[in-house]
Structures are given as structure tokens and as C-alpha cells.
């Protein structure tokens, strides 16, 4: 069984690492935990999908002296690589213990690479081409699109969950909180600047890895990933950039593809 194999590997890794971040199940409750040498690993679980890169970053931000492992899927590995590109952590302090998502999960996430670069157990599922943007465009006229998003984004209660759970949102001064851009004290928002900023600053800046943590965390069930899928596709086509695909050590300056090559 996949999880049993992963537990074995984690036990071995704990001989040299200061700890391993993974999900722990206790009394039917699952939450992130840092397993350390001597811990009972029978509580380590792999489900549900969770933005563990966020937890790793929170830990390393405060304990730059440790070296920890993380049991993770493909998207979270890419999140960690992108965090390293934006100079928010050093990959020297992280060891990826990778496992693949199931085919159902790959379809649900519309994920092109539902596995990390290396996996310690299990089998890679087939990547899925993300068609949601094309399908959305094809199924609605402009007026229907406008009505759809007016309704969807109008449900927003500004809980900042999408921002708080995103592994790549690390700005101390967040543009979504600035009155310069976002009207304060008005719901629904008169114009979706709040959502546009989130989309442009993550997916539009080359940070979004498509992990869907934002959609999971939205109490209003807003289909945010449609917006982010569009921008991620744009970034790939126009600028040739994919978040977390390469450890360049630098955040991407989005000049047109021809210029990026220079």
C-alpha cells in the first residue's frame, strides 16, 4: 500500500532530518504535523490534498537552522521550488519525499503533472490537459460570462482565505489589503479589484502552481481556478514561464518570450 511504503521511507529519513512535514490523523481529524525521530508513524496519512508547502515555509521562516523533509504531491513540490525562486526559502533546507496523485485526483485538479519530479512509491497517473478555460468560453456569451462572474464574485465575503492558504502568498504588505486598490467596508465589492489583484499577483506573476488550495478554502465556493487557469496558460504561451518548473533562483520578469530568452 502506498501509505505504508511512504511511512517506511519517512522512518529512514528521520535518521538524518530534523523532522518531516506530513498529514497526521488523530481521532478522525487530519492536520499537518512535523514528525520527528521516535514518533509513531502509523498516524501519518496522505489524504486529503493539502498545501503543505505553506507549512514548510512557515517553519523555515522561523527556524532557518533546521533541515526538514516533506511528504508531498507534485503541486507542493513546485510551490517549494517557486518559493525558492522568489528567495523566500532555500531548497537546501528541504527534502522532498514525493508521491503521485491518483488518476481521479489528476482529473479533478485538471493537472498536467500530478506527481513530483521523483516519487518514492506508487505509480504516476496520466497528466490531464486543462480545458476549463476553453470550455467556459465556448459555453457562454460575453453577457453570460459577465452575469456569471458578477454572481460568483458577488458572493465573496473577503475572508482572505484564498490569500492566507496560498503557499505562494508571502508578502508582508499585501496589495489586497491596501485601500489604494480595494474599497473597504463594502460587500459585495463594487468592482472585483480584490479578485483581479489576487489573480494577477499570483497566477499572473508566475507564482500559481494550480494546487486549488484557494478554491478549497473559499467559503463562498467561487470557482477561482478558472481565472487562474487562464493566466497560467497565458504565462506559458506568451512568456514561456511555468511556476515551479525550474529552479532558476530568481523571480520571473515577464518580458515577451523572445526577450526572456536573452
Amino acid at each position: 500500500m502506498l501509505v505504508a511504503q511512504v511511512r517506511e521511507i519517512v522512518a529512514k529519513k528521520l535518521e538524518t532530518l530534523d523532522g518531516v512535514v506530513a498529514l497526521k490523523e488523530e481521532q478522525h481529524r487530519v492536520a499537518p504535523y512535523l514528525f520527528t525521530a521516535g514518533d509513531d508513524l502509523s498516524t501519518l496519512v496522505l489524504e486529503p490534498r493539502y498545501p503543505l508547502a505553506l507549512v514548510v515555509h512557515e517553519i523555515l521562516k522561523r527556524r532557518p537552522d533546521v533541515r526538514i523533509g516533506v511528504v508531498t504531491r507534485g503541486c507542493q513540490e513546485r510551490a517549494l521550488v517557486e518559493l525558492a525562486n522568489w528567495k523566500q526559502l532555500s531548497l537546501d533546507q528541504v527534502e522532498i519525499i514525493g508521491f503521485p496523485c491518483s488518476q481521479e485526483q489528476a482529473e479533478a485538479c485538471r493537472c498536467e503533472m500530478p506527481y513530483p519530479t521523483e516519487i518514492v512509491a506508487g505509480e504516476r497517473a496520466q497528466g490531464v490537459v486543462d480545458q476549463v478555460v476553453a470550455e467556459f468560453r465556448a459555453s457562454k456569451t460575453r453577457e453570460e460570462r459577465l452575469a456569471f462572474w458578477q454572481r460568483q464574485l458577488g458572493k465573496c465575503i473577503k475572508c482572505y482565505g484564498c490569500r492566507s492558504i496560498c503557499p505562494l502568498c508571502f508578502c508582508e504588505k499585501c496589495a489586497m489589503e491596501q485601500e489604494t486598490w480595494v474599497t473597504r467596508g463594502k460587500l459585495p465589492l463594487p468592482f472585483p479589484t480584490f479578485h483581479l489583484i489576487k489573480a494577477i499577483h499570483t497566477a499572473g506573476a508566475g507564482k500559481c502552481v494550480g494546487c486549488h488550495a484557494c478554491e478549497d478554502a473559499c467559503p463562498a465556493d467561487i470557482p477561482l481556478s478558472i481565472l487562474y487557469s487562464l493566466l497560467r496558460q497565458d504565462l506559458k504561451e506568451t512568456f514561456g514561464y511555468e511556476a515551479g518548473a525550474q529552479h532558476s533562483g530568481n523571480p520571473p520578469v515577464l518580458l515577451l518570450k523572445e526577450q526572456m530568452a536573452k
Partner: protein, 152 residues
């Protein structure tokens, strides 16, 4: 090394064995009762994560839930009772403060009846604290004059 690490390390001995866990609890701020995880790193609260296992909240929180643990270590958190003396707040002890409050409330209740007193609860207090306040109002003082800032 950025300043969050420097601040944190001042409270923790370096090279100390690292511990990190999430403690599930219920949000104190309203009647929904969303499940949240308090993140504890090396014995200190560093923030909150929504609980994905919770049957009510399903891994989601409102803004108050996300910030539910902020007050614990907030630099502006009151650490002693304050009594207003000559228009200014002065630090005092719990005994002094509680004696003052109970004396004044009892005085007013005796002189003008329990309904001369009013009790105002707050959405910034936890559910449990608001429960205690209304108990104090109704069962101890004997008045129904209790309300909540959300109704203003």
C-alpha cells in the same frame, strides 16, 4: 535571515529540537462553530489553519476565524486590568479591579434596582465570555438588560 526568524529565535534556543503540531479547536467568534487548527511551533502559536476534517466548516474560515489566534501574542494585548483614574487608564491588579466593579454594580443595583444596569456583549469577545456576561446579567444581577454590539 529576515526579521521574523530573528524575532522567533529570540524566544527559542537554537539547535533545540523542533516541534510543530496543529491543535484542533472551535472558533470562539460566532455561533457557526467552525473547526480550526492552531499552529504551534516550538511551543509558540504562529497562526491558524482551517480544519479540513470539520463537518461544519470543511476547511474554510471567515476573516475572524483566520485571525482567531492573533490576539494571543499581540503586542497591544492587555496584560493587566486598567482602571480609569483622572481621565487616564492606570494599571491595577485583578483584586483591585474586581472589587471596584462588584462594589459599584452592587451599589447601583441596591440604590436603583437591577434594571438600572445594562450589559453590553461584544463580537470581539469569545462565545464563552459572552455567555458568562449574560449569566452575570440575568442570574447574578437579575436584569434582562443585556445586548450585543451586532445589534447596534
Amino acid at each position: 535571515m529576515g526579521s521574523p526568524a530573528i524575532e522567533f529565535l529570540e524566544g527559542v534556543k537554537t539547535m533545540q529540537k523542533i516541534t510543530y503540531s496543529n491543535i484542533e479547536t472551535t472558533c470562539i467568534y460566532c455561533g457557526a462553530g467552525c473547526g480550526l487548527n492552531v499552529q504551534v511551533l516550538d511551543g509558540q502559536i504562529i497562526g491558524v489553519l482551517p480544519s479540513t476534517s470539520h463537518p461544519v466548516s470543511h476547511g474554510q474560515l471567515c476573516i475572524k476565524g483566520w485571525r482567531a489566534a492573533d490576539f494571543v501574542n499581540h503586542p497591544e494585548r492587555l496584560r493587566t486590568p486598567l482602571i480609569k483614574v483622572g481621565g487616564k487608564f492606570v494599571e491595577s491588579s485583578w483584586d483591585e479591579a474586581l472589587d471596584l466593579v462588584s462594589d459599584k454594580l452592587a451599589e447601583a443595583a441596591q440604590a436603583h434596582g437591577p434594571d438600572s444596569l445594562g450589559f453590553l456583549a461584544s463580537a470581539k469577545c469569545g462565545n464563552e465570555e459572552n455567555y458568562l456576561l449574560q449569566k452575570l446579567s440575568r442570574a447574578v444581577v437579575g436584569t434582562n438588560n443585556v445586548d450585543h454590539c451586532a445589534r447596534l
